[in-house]
Amino acid sequence: MFAGLFGKRDLLLPVTLLGLAAALGVSAMSLSTGDAGWGTQYTSMFSFDKYAQSFTAITLTSVLLLAGMSSWGFRTLNSSLGDHYALILFSLCGAVCMFSFTNLVMLFIGIEILSIPLYVLAGSRRDDLASNEAALKYFLMGAFATGILLFGMTLVYGSTGTFNTAAIGAAVERGVASPGMLKMGILLLVVGLSFKVSAVPFHFWAPDVYQGSPNTVTAFMATAVKTAGFAAFYRLFSTSFLGVNEFWSVGIAAIAGLTMTLSNFTAIFQTEFKRMMAYSSISHAGYLMMAILVAGQPGSAGAILLYMLTYSIATICAFSAYIVVAEPNGDGSFAAFNGLSKKQPLVALVMALSMLSLAGIPPLAGFFGKYFLFSTVMQQYPWLVVIAVINSAVSVYYYLKVIIAMYFTKEENTYEVLIPSSIRWVMVAGVVIITLLTVLPGNIFGLI
């Protein structure tokens, strides 16, 4: 993390990768041994339980791939390269806090550790007005949302008298003296967290920020950050607020339905790949919101985990394919992909697999993500599943646009597409993971 200080530019990536791999190794090991980890000593703040471990593992996997991608994605950066890695890793620390918190204070701190580096990262292309704009939008709205979140936390604290999530849960079960305040607090929390996971109508920042940020950062935001947001959302609601779930489930259900519908329909109109991916990311948030609805049900946490993993891997693969096509040529529209299957079959294949996976077309991994999610929700909210199903049908349309450009469009552009070896490795690794998830999705689902 501090290697940049020594100006050892070449060492940065290996160190980062090593560190991430080591962390992944540790979390995987503790997962397999069932070890509660070192979290026991900090139970009032953290609990590094199975839930946290598995989410950490999948996030580390994503970030590992992202880091591989970044070696090329950040190639133009010189002095600030070390800062970038450091910021990403800081942000990752925040994410881990959000996976493992047992206290609202830690949740708040995790979110801030996650977000503040992101504000910087979003604006990291200082001379690019789009990047500036993205940073400002993200920052202002993020700060605003933080305020709302904090107000919510305060009200919950006021009504239950504690920040400890388990204790809150117990208090909510018992019933509190001022239920109105509690309800208000919960709703404000919903607003704040919905902002983080970019659920409608708190999603407005997402398309603009995704589009304006540097590609690698966008990929990071769309994957690891979103994972952290949902993991925290789920963790909080499943431990603390199950007692009054009839109350908040109405709002969440409405948000879920709105999110997927609005984002999918809007995505149809996009001509820029990155912006399309932003809406796609919002739509996935919509599906995932359904999992919050059934928080506490057996399998719901596993469903989020699997969904997040399949979604993250596919998104990273898609972005890695996107940057090799779009960055050198400065064209991020779908037309940039025309005839790609002839020029670079591997890139086209990776992109096609990612798109089909994101669309949830069997037998690709994304389907199983959706499947587990939908089947968990089905029992309680069949009508919501039907909306989700219709929406995934709509989503097929824009995902296929890329495939159509790559495989079926006869007129070709003159862009030259080269694959750097690091990206190639990311792609291969991504495809291998997608394949593994396709064959054995149950193993991930069963982790929690």
């Binding site: 609202l104 204070v105 708040f108 701190i109 801030e112 503040i116 504000y119 910087v120 604006g123 200082r126 001379d127 007005l129 789009a130 500036n132 704009e133 993205a134 940073a135 400002l136 939008k137 920052f139 202002l140 700060a143 605003f144 933080t146 305020g147 709302i148 904090l150 107000f151 936390m153 305060t154 009200l155 604290y157 006021g158 008298g161 504690t162 920040f163 305040m181 398309p207 603009d208 920020v209 589009q211 304006g212 109109f269 996009q270 912006r275």
Partner: protein, 106 residues
Amino acid sequence: MLEIIKTVPIEYYLLYSTVLFCIGVFGVLTRRNAIIVLMCVELMLNAVNLLLAAFSTYLGDAQGQIMVFFIMVVAAAEAAVGLGILVMIYRNTKSTDISLLDRLRN
């Protein structure tokens, strides 16, 4: 001291903080200068801090006050980053009007 504070009912604190918070929100919504918007956000955070301190006192629980400190620290960091971003933007656009930035849309 505690007794003095507790002579004011908690509802008053609640109301007062809420009003303060809403003023912040209102400011964020209506002002177009980024710096003022930032200040309004700070106002929202301070409303929260005040309420937290009040709750903490009434509940006789220290956690709330700890939280206040965390919030203050984080708010400072946030403000630093925010101002940095503003400086960067000002350099590029010579303006801090947030409504001028709408190149990213649709």
